[in-house]
Symmetry: C2
């Protein structure tokens, strides 16, 4: 049953489609937009409304969810030709879910005023997006959280309210991505190190996930390495982007984060080796080449 | 009630004392040895037997637990003057619990034969040692595990049987320590990065421990940073040693582990800054100096 409220969703990739589906399920009218006509048609087939520009999707919406890849795309969605800013009126809220730099979030929020901007990067992956169970690291004016509380509840399981200024949510997300990126690289280094010592990797997985060396990323990503399954749930190049944001924030503030900087190099080496579009657990495949254990850690079809 | 079986415990620091207490509680006669007379006396007061050399503690014991700091101490305990090797007869088992290199474990096992050597590095900290709930990453002949099953059950909650050759247990431990060391350094870098962006660290802790950036070490060690509590549960210099083993194994096998190598530098910088004997979470205090946030991350009494 429709609530008579319209939400816009810009970007209908695996995450954005999940956001749109969750809003539909909660009774919102959903207008969606994406450069790929086939995903827009897929949304329409599920009861959403197809539109051709961000402005059209934003027209009359109480909340517009931007679920695109990065800061540059977000800026285009907002301020490019046919962008949301043309169509949004005060009272509406632009919810930016991409991982982007805190400075850019502050800048876009200032440019969009008096229309409200919620700085709301997400994590959780496609499956949780489809279930309306994303984690959202959000900051913005308290009144904004209240005004679109129903929309936010429809898409999220954990809604962290992290401050009343845009930028704070993105700062928290950058801290999380610093750790997540380093942990993927460290997990990959550890698995290749184990393989080079002749250890059984399934046994390594069992021992480490029950020990003090465990991380959320080790448990999640190294399962894929055991399964030789490198289909991209989240690609190597996404972390090249996200660690890039971490290092940009650090450089801007004149901070030296040596571990993150080193982890970035490992993602870049993995991408440069032709695995940029593969799952980010492919960092382990790059380490396998470096450590001479491609007989153990490899994707079917890889050269050994 | 005594089982009529004697176990020796060499090294009565916080971990060794916990091992000895767990064996006493399980009904073993325990002979203990340590260079510090006061801790030997403390064991005697709890029903153990005081001895003055490793050989004396090992005399007649079915199992001798060596709970010392490192490989060099283990070698002295075994083969130095008054060492265990002088007193142990075939049928007895030397259980080496220190974190040391797999090559050294193999070497000592070969020198000790025909007396059995169990390669059994531990983790879990002093509290779990006292409760008989250590995690043990063990390898050695299957018959050895059976012969001292009661002793091992008395001291451990998780007994990982990781192979039938000494060295394999230490290889698993090295993999764990690689991850643990990198995660402490990464957690410290992330907390200082958050502080430099003006984020509230208690909120960072709450968000990260519920997110994909979490690690066992982040949750454990960063709690100490929030509490400004740097009393050494495990010191910075212990990780200088343990990452040293990781890098030695890697160098010996001609493997380049860049993230571990960078993490090692952070522990060395922390130690060189005078915090080697402080808790290993003090890496965050070193980062605080590097990032200019000693007003947020500091030990009482530190210069700001």
């Amino acid at each position: 049953m429709s609530k008579g409220l319209t939400a816009g969703v810009i970007g209908l990739g695996s995450m954005g489609m999940g956001v749109a589906q969750s809003l539909l399920r909660a009774g919102f009218d959903v207008a969606g937009c994406d450069p790929r006509p086939e995903v827009v048609a897929a949304l329409a087939a599920q009861g959403g409304r197809a539109t051709t520009t961000p402005a059209e999707a934003a027209e009359g919406a109480t909340a517009v969810f931007s679920v695109v890849l990065n800061g540059a795309q977000t800026e285009t969605v907002l301020f490019g030709p046919g962008g949301c800013a043309e169509a949004m009126a005060p009272g509406a809220v632009f919810v930016s879910m991409a991982t982007l730099s805190p400075d850019l979030a502050r800048d876009m929020a200032a440019r969009l005023a008096p229309v409200d901007y919620l700085d709301a990067p997400i994590s959780g992956g496609a499956a949780r997006a489809a279930e309306g169970k994303l984690s959202v690291m959000a900051s913005g004016a308290p009144a904004v959280f209240d005004r679109i509380g129903g929309e936010l509840a429809a898409v999220s399981e954990n809604l962290f309210r992290l401050g009343d200024q845009p930028g704070q949510g993105s700062s928290f997300k950058a801290v999380n991505q610093l750790l997540a990126g380093v942990h993927i690289a460290a997990a990959s280094e550890a698995m290749a190190f184990a393989a080079a010592q002749g250890l059984d990797l399934a046994e390594v997985y069992r021992v480490i996930t029950a020990s003090a060396g465990n991380s959320w990323m080790f448990a999640d990503r190294m399962k894929r390495v055991l399964d030789n399954d490198y289909r991209p749930r989240s690609s190597t190049d996404i972390f090249v982007k996200d660690l890039g944001i971490v290092l940009e924030v650090a450089r801007t503030r004149k901070l030296p984060p040596p571990i993150s900087a080193q982890a970035m190099q490992m993602f870049l080496m993995t991408s440069a080796s032709g695995m940029g579009a593969d799952d980010d657990s492919s960092v382990a495949r790059f380490y396998a080449r470096l450590f001479g254990v491609t007989d153990v850690i490899r994707k079917e079809g890889d050269d050994q």
